[in-house]
């Protein structure tokens, strides 16, 4: 080693608190992820029932989205230290990000409108509700899927 470690700064109380904060953020992220997984598995088991409630599944998905936003907030403010920057800098980054609100709303609405046109032949007939079905039902005989290409 050519470089000598002579410049190392002493560990202060503030450092101990800072490292504690980092680990706390880690545990928060871990717990939020585990809750998300539990909710994801809940959806999986709800959908096994052939006449499950769409509204319930939609609500659980909404909760998962909110938890994801909370995780994003923790990563940005604690891991990326944006919370420690001055306010004008935070706003410089946060204000353009609000474009996403319009962006998501407009494009999801566009997709929904396209689906409506698809199911009404461009508005020329009444809406035909597509039949509800699972992508793959449980215990389907078609589950011979472990054949790998060799």
């Amino acid at each position: 080693m050519s470089a000598e470690i002579t410049t190392q700064l002493p560990v202060t109380e503030a450092d101990v608190a800072h490292v504690k904060k980092i680990w706390k953020a880690f545990w928060v992220l871990l717990i939020l992820t585990i809750i998300e997984l539990a909710l994801g598995l809940t959806i999986y088991y709800i959908e096994m029932n052939p006449d499950y409630s769409d509204l319930l599944v939609l609500m659980i998905k909404g909760v998962i989205c909110i938890l994801t936003l909370a995780k994003a907030f923790y990563i940005i403010s604690i891991f990326m230290h944006l919370g420690d920057e001055i306010r004008t800098f935070i706003l410089t980054l946060a204000l353009p990000a609000t474009l996403f609100i319009w962006f998501i709303t407009a494009f999801i609405a566009d997709g929904a409108s396209f689906r409506n046109l698809r199911n009404t032949d461009g508005g020329s007939r009444t809406y035909i509700q597509p039949t509800e079905h699972h992508a793959v039902p449980l215990e389907a005989p078609a589950e011979k899927k472990e054949k790998k290409l060799d």
Binding site: L37, I64, I75, I86, F89, F103, H133, A135, K148, L149
Partner: protein, 244 residues
């Protein structure tokens, strides 16, 4: 006292110092990450838009249910492992940045090394997942004939089920699925790969004592910002492809 504060406030923008109280490099890294978030946002929103426009999509709980060394179908299990790996590598990175603030070279080296390992583990998991999807053969009913398809950008064997000769068989699903899945996770994986390369360069520079000579470890901070951004994007990719 108040006039002094007012004076420093007006002088923030009078030149001679950074009005944002951050270095040029760090500010530009933030602006790059913001633009990159719009790129990822555009991909994910386009995916959402297409998904909303179709009557059927794939059921992620059946597409992504493989786990290494087991034949059991475990929805969400493997991707949770990948998520934990990435969150953990984010923690090791932020601890490395903190060690850099304290000018503790040995500690920076240790945390950077663990971060690189985490990144490589994530990439390995992704390679495993992709291989499973592309090579795994599934029965699909195409024009009245049973074929065996893998999940690729041109083939999607995860469509609606129909009765065929007395048993249920899948029909082709929306082709868009493969393109979006491989495109977005691939673009994210490319970011992880770049992050690993950047971190390796940082590790070499730390070992050579470049930052100790320079008197600060700000480069580690910038690399850290990028690495956390990769984790941040994964949070949303995880949400859009595996959870909802």
């Amino acid at each position: 006292m108040e006039t002094a504060i007012a004076q420093t406030k007006t002088k923030l923008w009078a030149g001679g110092r950074s009005p944002f109280n951050v270095s040029y490099g760090k500010m530009m890294m933030w602006f790059f990450l913001m633009s990159d978030s719009f790129t990822f946002g555009a991909f994910l929103i386009s995916y959402g838009s297409i998904r909303f426009s179709l009557n059927n999509w794939v059921d992620h709980n059946y597409v992504f249910n493989e786990f290494p060394f087991t034949e059991a179908h475990l929805p969400l299990a493997f991707v949770s492992l990948m998520t934990f790996i990435l969150i953990f590598s984010s923690v090791t990175m932020v601890l490395g940045v903190h060690a850099g603030h304290k000018m503790n070279q040995k500690s920076v080296e240790k945390w950077l090394f663990l971060t690189i390992l985490g990144g490589l583990a994530f990439l390995g998991c992704q390679a495993y997942e992709w291989t499973g999807l592309i090579t795994g053969q599934h029965e699909v009913l195409v024009n009245g004939v049973i074929e065996h398809w893998g999940t690729t950008v041109s083939h999607n064997p995860w469509g609606p089920m129909v009765m065929h000769n007395g048993h249920l068989v899948a029909t082709p699903g929306p082709v868009a699925f493969g393109g979006y899945f491989f495109g977005i996770t691939g673009f994210h994986g490319f970011h992880v790969f770049t992050g690993v390369i950047v971190n390796i360069v940082m590790l070499i520079k730390t070992k050579r004592g470049d930052f100790a000579k320079r008197g600060h470890y700000e480069m580690i901070e910038k690399a850290g910002l990028y690495w956390h951004f990769v984790d941040l994007v994964w949070v949303f990719v995880f949400l859009c492809f595996y959870l909802i």
